[in-house]
Assembly symmetry: C2
Homo-oligomer: 248 residues x 2
């Protein structure tokens, strides 16, 4: 199933003993519908406060509800901040994480003096000026196959830190009423074959330092080569991040 959720109220995707998670709500809704205790597998966990436009999940059921009825049937049993967009039957060996070929994340920054009340849960508010072309420069160094050790949290499990970034783009939509043309919304899209723990948020935290003039765009390359988490910027706030797309 392809699922979107507003992560604001959740302690992330994956079930944890005492916390309210998206996985828990999905498994509960499927249980109410089918009477079966299934285990939902996702294309990857998302952190507390992180959203998904199109998370992909799979599970095994013996339920005989026709596939074209699933979407509606599950949605009526889910809270309003989780919505199933699509349901389809998959081969028995399908695994939404292992078989994912490309994933895209979007990080959104509200660049304006005053925050926008309607996007307080989905955009990171940045009140001061940002040098967009220098950020764009920084972003360009990420494309390709690299060891992303400098951009992963210490909590990342041991294993290869080599990932391939296929695309890293930035879009700026200016606020029509903005005086200096500096106010607006910045969307950063990063597509890769996989992501390490906190990788997108550390990249964005570093890009924000570049935008603020604390670092230059080319430093992104030096940080990458260093492989040192301490050289990169802070982990950007979770609520600006959305799992945008997963391809198989």
């Amino acid at each position: 199933m392809v699922v979107s959720y507003d992560g604001t109220a959740y302690c992330g995707f994956q079930i944890q003993p005492r916390d309210h998670t998206v996985q828990q709500e999905l498994e509960r809704a499927i249980y109410v519908l089918t009477g079966e205790r299934v285990k939902v597998i996702s294309s990857g966990r998302t952190d507390a406060g992180v959203h998904a436009k199109a998370q992909v999940i799979n599970f095994l059921t013996e339920c005989i509800i026709p596939i074209d009825r699933w979407c509606f049937a599950v949605n009526t049993r889910l809270p309003r901040d989780i919505v199933v967009h699509k349901a389809s039957e998959a081969p028995l060996n399908f695994h939404s994480r292992h078989h994912a070929k490309r994933k895209t994340y979007r990080y959104t920054i509200q660049r304006s003096k005053i925050p926008d009340v309607f996007y307080r849960h989905t955009r990171f508010h940045h009140p001061t000026r940002l040098d967009l072309s220098e950020m764009q420069n920084g972003l360009s160094h990420l494309v390709g196959e690299h060891d992303f050790s400098a951009f992963c949290s210490a909590r990342t499990p041991v294993g290869s830190h080599v990932r391939t970034i296929y695309e890293a783009t930035m879009e700026f939509i200016a606020e029509p009423s903005s005086g200096d043309g500096q106010a607006g919304v910045i969307h950063i899209y990063i597509t890769g074959n996989g992501f390490l723990y906190n990788m997108v948020r550390i990249i964005v935290g570093t890009l924000l330092q570049i935008g603020q003039g604390k670092r230059s765009g080319v430093e992104m390359n030096q940080i990458l080569l260093s492989g040192d988490r301490n050289k990169a910027g802070p982990t950007a706030m979770a609520h600006g991040l959305t799992l945008w797309e997963v391809s198989y």
Copy 2:
């Protein structure tokens, strides 16, 4: 001050004995800032669940905080779903309701099979087809000076029901991935010199019946002439409505 708010968590703008309201939060924030118990006057109350992009309020204070500091000072004392965008000094006789010349409301409909989780509090979800050109036709009959008795709640205080609608427009933004071009977002903007209780929501409720093919667009004119609330459609859900702009 020009104020925007997400009305989801509030029982409307105006203070009521036992309910949580936007006015209460504004007066509390101003009290915390100044120590003064002011009475906030708005350009008009909004109902429970209705939002504002640019509500205008006024109040009387003896506080000596410079006017360019007010915005930031009040915002740090407000909950995150209410944000002050602008503060300015006004003549002593200024009254944000009495002196309002034009008000614009926007009503937003999410026209798609599956609701959009990120706009569940700000768009009315309509899963089935709507005839947009017939709705457009219906909307056009509202422009001008009319007695809007057919489009006001029985709870409207006694008095003239004549109002002037200056503009009534509809905008459709198609969903790029929509197969039949029918999915997307519909914004309805209505600008007038004033609005009766529930007027915009009853207009939209009637427009939805027109869009669904239950009535034709020209019936809007007949309903208007009848002056009979029972001839019009139901009151549309509050959460799609936003007080968009107030001019003086």
